[in-house]
């Protein structure tokens, strides 16, 4: 090979290896890389700090435990919804599934079924509802929005039909109510259940193939399919997850309220999706974070709690809530500009 290069050096033609253009990643880099989670974390802390200063009651153990107990259903369903949204899907039917399970568990308990059986049956019911919806979405390729919107309507309709509009009481003496009301090691049982669910969700999302494929499907479903993954089954499974989580939330709610009503969980789907999106998961799929979702859900719960503790007029509450969220997110986006993608 003829060599007409101007440099005769045998190894390096220009002095490049001397200095690397890649520097070690600093703390700031890692902050920026996880911009959306850091952003909601800061926001959460600021909100907590604010309410600790403004009200006396906020930073007391009973109040904090109250908050986690109240938000257990939200946390559980939001964790599952993170999977759904990360695939680029959506599940609008969770509020209806919650209502159906709440009424059905009250009704079956009233009919004399033993409580462990009721719980198992309800979770299976949730899984079945999710599988049906997932079938239409994953195998028949109907947009998730349409399928779960139809589901929302049908499932709440069934709850209505079962109860005839009455709310069905659960005997306060039934061991079933333990799930919603009891304490264990100084922590409310619903909070413990939520904790377990969240840990499992975190591991499944970040440390298993399933979680990997969920992210991949949201980013490029065809690429994942071409990699030989059964994307349809994976997609179906996320809806099974979200419906089962909604069923668990319904059980907890019925146990806590001591009653199953078909109007339970009205608007719950929006609340759940809001928590997930606030946490930094993208509605376009491919980017999800369980930690963000937890922070998003807790932020919503803390604001609702704190405003009441601060004796905010109920007429001002929705205005203040919306404004706080918007302004805080905005400040955080300015802080992390460039690190966070709007999509």
């Amino acid at each position: 090979m003829s060599n007409s290069s101007t440099s005769g050096d045998n190894t390096a033609l220009h002095p490049v290896a001397a200095q690397s253009r890649v520097r070690e990643s600093t703390l700031r880099d890692r902050f920026m890389a996880n911009g959306s989670v850091v952003s909601i974390a800061i926001f959460f802390l600021v909100v907590c700090l604010l309410f600790s200063v403004v009200t006396d009651a906020f930073l007391t153990a009973p109040n904090l435990l109250n908050i986690v107990r109240q938000s257990a259903p939200l946390l559980i369903v939001a964790a599952a919804m993170t999977f759904v949204i990360t695939t680029g899907g959506i599940d609008l039917s969770v509020g209806s599934v919650l209502a159906l399970v709440a009424t059905l568990s009250a009704a079956t308990l009233q009919a004399g079924l033993p409580w462990p059986l009721v719980i198992i049956a309800m979770l299976l019911l949730g899984a079945a509802v999710g599988a049906i919806q997932g079938f239409f979405i994953a195998y028949e390729r109907i947009p998730a929005f349409i399928v779960t919107l139809a589901g929302l309507s049908v499932i709440r309709g069934i709850a209505l039909l079962i109860t005839g509009g009455y709310s069905i009481p659960v005997e306060a003496t039934s061991p079933f109510t333990v799930i919603g009301r009891a304490w264990f090691l100084g922590v409310p049982v619903p909070a413990l259940i939520a904790l377990v669910v969240l840990v499992i969700a975190y591991l499944a999302f970040n440390e298993t193939r399933f979680g990997r494929y969920v992210t991949g499907i949201g980013a490029n479903a065809e690429a994942v399919r071409r990699a030989g993954v059964d994307t349809r089954l994976t997609t179906l499974m996320v809806y099974v997850l979200s419906s089962t989580a909604a069923a668990a939330a319904g059980i907890i709610l019925a146990a806590r309220l001591g009653s199953g009503s078909s109007n339970a969980g009205q608007g719950f789907e929006l609340e759940v999706i809001a928590a997930v999106v606030l946490g930094g998961t993208s509605l376009f799929g491919g980017r999800g974070t369980i930690i963000g979702t937890i922070l998003g859900a807790m932020t919503v719960a803390v604001i609702a709690n704190g405003l009441i503790l601060a004796h905010m007029s109920p007429f001002l509450t929705p205005i203040v809530t919306g404004t706080i969220i918007l302004i805080a997110i905005w400040l955080n986006f300015r802080l992390f500009r460039g690190a966070i993608r709007s999509r």
């Binding site: 890649v22 193939r209 990997r212 990699a227 030989g228 993954v229």
Partner: protein
């Protein structure tokens, strides 16, 4: 020739998309260890034909035999289980997944913790690093998401993914389009190395000079049809150019580059 000696036999493959007959009764044969160059004009149907073999596209008609056995691929998973791997022209990467995750997509190594199969991320990153080094590509960190990588870096990841898992048929759809000179050499070396191990390779490329470095045979497509087949010894760049274009054509960019430096 006895059909038993073929690794791949595709016969009578046709595929129509709405108004356009993308593939029209196309055949393709491939022996073990053979490197076939598949060429043709833009839109000739090369990518569609290779996607049929990788299971990503289901043809309207036609049969595929692998090692003498008739197969019917209803999804890429089926083709993968027959050890058919493909580098797609559009790369098929998940932008929000990291480099190692993309390479191992669908085949992530796992380790059991308390009986639960978790991803073995350390192994993924270590092995990904080795594969990338073999392709001679510089990527600072296998934990980077692929969305921000350069065109060539992305392409190497797609190549690494297909080549690293013991394929018996390896389809490469314009694998070197975005690669710089040293990386192209590495890919050509890779093709030589795997074909020496008995892997059958289909190489689709518009860099015609590369064909003569690695291919045993060349097949030309034109508007969705087979039009010619040549053993590499019997042909020349000019011949191939004419076949691709469909008429005599003077392509200076594909000619011998003796006149380097001379401006037109």
């Amino acid at each position: 020739m006895d059909s038993e000696t073929y690794r791949v036999r595709m016969t009578g493959i046709s595929k129509r998309y709405n108004t356009i007959q993308t593939l029209d009764n196309v055949s393709l044969n491939l022996k073990p260890g053979e490197v076939l160059g598949l060429v043709g004009d833009n839109g000739a149907g090369k990518s569609t034909l290779s996607k049929v073999l990788s299971g990503a596209v289901i043809p309207d008609s036609g049969t595929i035999e692998i090692d003498g056995k008739v197969v019917s691929f209803s999804s890429p998973a089926d083709a993968r289980s027959e050890h058919v791997e493909m580098v797609y022209q559009d790369l098929s990467l998940c932008d929000t997944v990291d480099v190692a995750g993309n390479i191992f997509l669908g085949r992530e190594p796992r380790r059991r913790v308390l009986g639960v199969p978790f991803l073995d991320k350390k192994r993924m990153h270590d092995e990904a690093r080795i594969m990338l080094d073999r392709l001679g590509i510089v990527i600072a960190d296998t934990r980077l998401k692929v969305e921000n990588l350069s065109g060539g870096q992305r392409q190497s990841i797609a190549i690494g993914r297909a080549a690293s898992f013991e394929p018996s048929v390896l389809i490469m759809d314009e694998p070197t389009a975005a690669l710089a000179v040293a990386e192209v050499e590495a890919v050509l070396d890779l093709i030589r190395a795997v074909s020496a191990r008995g892997v059958s390779v289909i190489l689709i490329t518009h860099r015609l000079q590369d064909l003569f470095l690695v291919c045993d045979r060349i097949q030309v497509m034109y508007e969705g049809r087979n039009v010619a087949e040549r053993r590499i010894e019997e042909t020349s760049i000019e011949d191939v150019v004419n076949l691709i274009v469909g008429r005599k054509f003077q392509a200076r960019s594909a000619r011998r580059s003796e006149d380097n430096g001379a401006r037109p």
